[in-house]
């Protein structure tokens, strides 16, 4: 008699479990898993959304590897992501350490607000604002640079300056995010350890490199991955400020995907580009699992 009763209970638990997850699972299948599978299939077709889709096999992918604009976009995106990771991590960490030392409550409050708030503003507002701030005739950057004798370029229309300018705007916008993550990470570094190192005669420099940094490595690692993945998908400032130009200087991979899919309506090719983005992000995420063991100091 025990076994059927236990089996019945098991069945009821299964049923209850599936009932609880079913709404989310259904939505997951319709809006994430289904589209994912569909996108893989779509990449094997040519389709402009007007005429019938045409099966082309792997042609979209061969086109992908021979496309000079795609290569340019990939290089821009990697350059952007690399610069973004380095600047965010270095400035975010240094700022967090510095702000953490500020004992004055008002100054500390002001700094946290000033550094973090830009992160909450939409990319749309940030892009429109900075387009004016860096404008040679409208903006105040050119004016003050002129006062000290620096002739500023026309940042967003100069092919040499457009990408660095976007990198800078992105730093202003999202530094607050890295800063907050670093501040949280700093709270996990025990002050007793720092004190012990100081008692043993360690200089601030030594303490930073030998104590704080290793103890912060889990945070640094996560922040690097999160910043990289976010930066790799950069789209809004590029689309709004430069529209990928001048001369493709700021065309990123997601910008290219948008052009192909939603302006040229070459859906199959856009799906192939999107799959490439997916493969790169997956590679970075998997690298995370491997790298974690190697680089991160775990207590």
């Amino acid at each position: 008699m025990r076994r059927p009763a236990a089996l019945l209970q098991r069945r009821r638990a299964d049923l209850a479990g599936w009932l609880f997850v079913s709404p989310a699972t259904l939505l997951f299948l319709i809006f994430i898993a289904g589209p994912f599978v569909f996108a893989i299939g779509l990449a094997l077709f040519k389709w402009d959304m007007l005429t019938d889709p045409e099966y082309v096999g792997l042609e979209n992918f061969t086109q992908l590897f021979a496309d000079p604009v795609l290569l340019r976009s990939l290089l821009n995106t990697f350059a952007f992501a690399f610069a973004s990771v380095v600047t965010h991590i270095v400035f975010g960490l240094l700022l967090a350490i510095a702000v953490n030392r500020i004992a004055n409550r008002y100054l500390s409050y002001f700094l946290r607000v000033a550094i973090f708030f830009p992160f909450l503003i939409s990319w749309a507002a940030v892009s429109l604002l900075w387009e004016h701030v860096l404008d040679p005739s409208f903006g105040y950057v050119a004016y003050y640079a002129g006062l000290i004798g620096i002739d500023t370029p026309n940042f967003f229309s100069d092919p040499a300056w457009a990408l660095p300018a976007i990198i800078f705007v992105d730093l202003w916008h999202t530094l607050g995010f890295t800063f907050v993550i670093m501040l949280a990470g700093l709270q996990t570094v025990s002050p007793e350890l720092i004190e012990a190192a100081r008692t043993d005669g360690g200089s601030s420099w030594q303490i930073f490199w030998r104590v704080t940094l290793p103890l912060m490595s889990p945070t640094l690692f996560v922040a690097t991955i999160v910043t990289f993945i976010g930066a790799f998908q950069v789209f809004e400032p590029v689309q709004i400020i430069t529209n990928g130009g001048p001369q493709n200087a700021t065309k990123t991979i997601v910008m290219y995907l948008y052009e192909q899919g939603f302006q040229a309506f070459d859906m199959g090719y856009a799906a192939a580009v999107a799959l490439l983005v997916f493969v790169i992000i997956m590679a970075v995420t998997l690298l995370q699992f491997w790298g974690r063991r190697k680089w991160v100091y775990e207590t």
């Binding site: 994912f36 702000v99 946290r112």
Partner: protein, 301 residues
């Protein structure tokens, strides 16, 4: 689980740190470096907010004086004309309501379904629960731009292009929320469920009367993040929406500057100010919650 910022504790640690230092010379030197550090950081903070000060000041300056040289850090001559201009050039109120509707429906809806799913995954060990969680976790690696292409085709088939539903329907499922809440529920002792079950409580009671109230900070953090991301979202609205009266504010702002019959720069600045200032007020009130939610989910994401 949740990593909350503890500024008070940090300040206390700092002060304790200062008190334990016996060497007078070290203390004197550190006071001077602290003043120097404070000054440099203050200037840095001023530079960080300078674009926002300039934004607000310019939007309050009369058109002929705005964007002048030297830059207007104060609104002289003062006028509110640019703000009334905003309502002529864009349906601001309608777009505000659209943004609010979209963010509210997405946040409340996704959290409701995530809470249900997380309960099933964390508390009921049913056949397939592990596979399901792994499947959903792997979806975290899938970029939104990949999924949005087929979703666009689907919405076109359903005739939902240029409606807000095209944006909030896909937002009802949030894999990150499900994962985060599942982990959070697991940190709450199971003995509580068992005690409640003995008292005759069902799943529904355990979840909504016990686990949800106990997960307040986690749910609040997820709600802030979800609201913020749909309030600020641009890619989705850009692809799905084309009529000004259906658009959300971020897209509305960009169209205001670059669309047909684009507005003068001061009007664009006034519109940005109208988006940024309320946000700043909300942020100043809930500063701690905002920072805590980003810190906790940022570390887990």
């Amino acid at each position: 689980m949740t990593v909350t910022m503890q500024p008070e504790r940090a300040a206390l640690v700092d002060r304790a740190d200062l008190l334990t230092r016996v060497d007078r010379r070290t203390r004197r030197r550190s006071r001077w470096t602290d003043i120097l550090l404070g000054t440099v950081l203050f200037l840095f903070g001023v530079l960080m907010i300078s674009p926002l000060v300039w934004l607000i000041s310019t939007s309050l300056t009369a058109t002929e004086a705005a964007f002048g040289t030297p830059p207007n850090w104060l609104p002289i001559p003062f006028t509110l004309d640019a703000f009334s201009g905003v309502f002529e050039y864009m349906p601001f109120a309608q777009q505000f309501i659209n943004s609010l509707l979209l963010a509210t429906i997405s946040t409340v809806g996704s959290l409701f379904f995530s809470v249900l799913a997380a309960y099933g995954l964390a508390r009921i060990e049913f056949r397939g629960s592990r596979t399901l969680l792994v499947l959903m976790l792997s979806a975290l690696m899938v970029p939104a731009q990949l999924v949005i292409i087929p979703v666009f085709i689907l919405m076109r088939e359903l005739g939902l292009v240029d409606t807000l539903a095209a944006l909030w329907l896909p937002a009802l499922v949030n894999v990150f929320q499900i994962f985060f809440l599942t982990q959070y529920f697991r940190t709450i002792p199971r003995e509580l469920d068992e005690a409640a079950t003995l008292d005759g409580a069902g799943h529904w009671w355990i979840l909504f009367r016990m686990l949800v109230p106990l997960s307040g900070p986690a749910i609040a953090a997820l709600a802030i993040l979800s609201f913020e991301s749909s309030w600020n979202g641009y890619f989705g609205p850009l692809i799905f929406l084309s009529s000004p009266e259906v658009m959300t504010l971020p897209l509305g702002l960009v169209v205001l500057q670059s669309g047909f019959g684009s507005a003068p720069a001061v009007v664009v600045f006034a519109a940005i100010t109208m988006v940024v200032v309320p946000l700043l007020i909300v942020f100043l009130v809930f500063q701690r919650q905002f920072i805590a939610s980003v810190a906790s989910a940022g570390l887990k994401g």
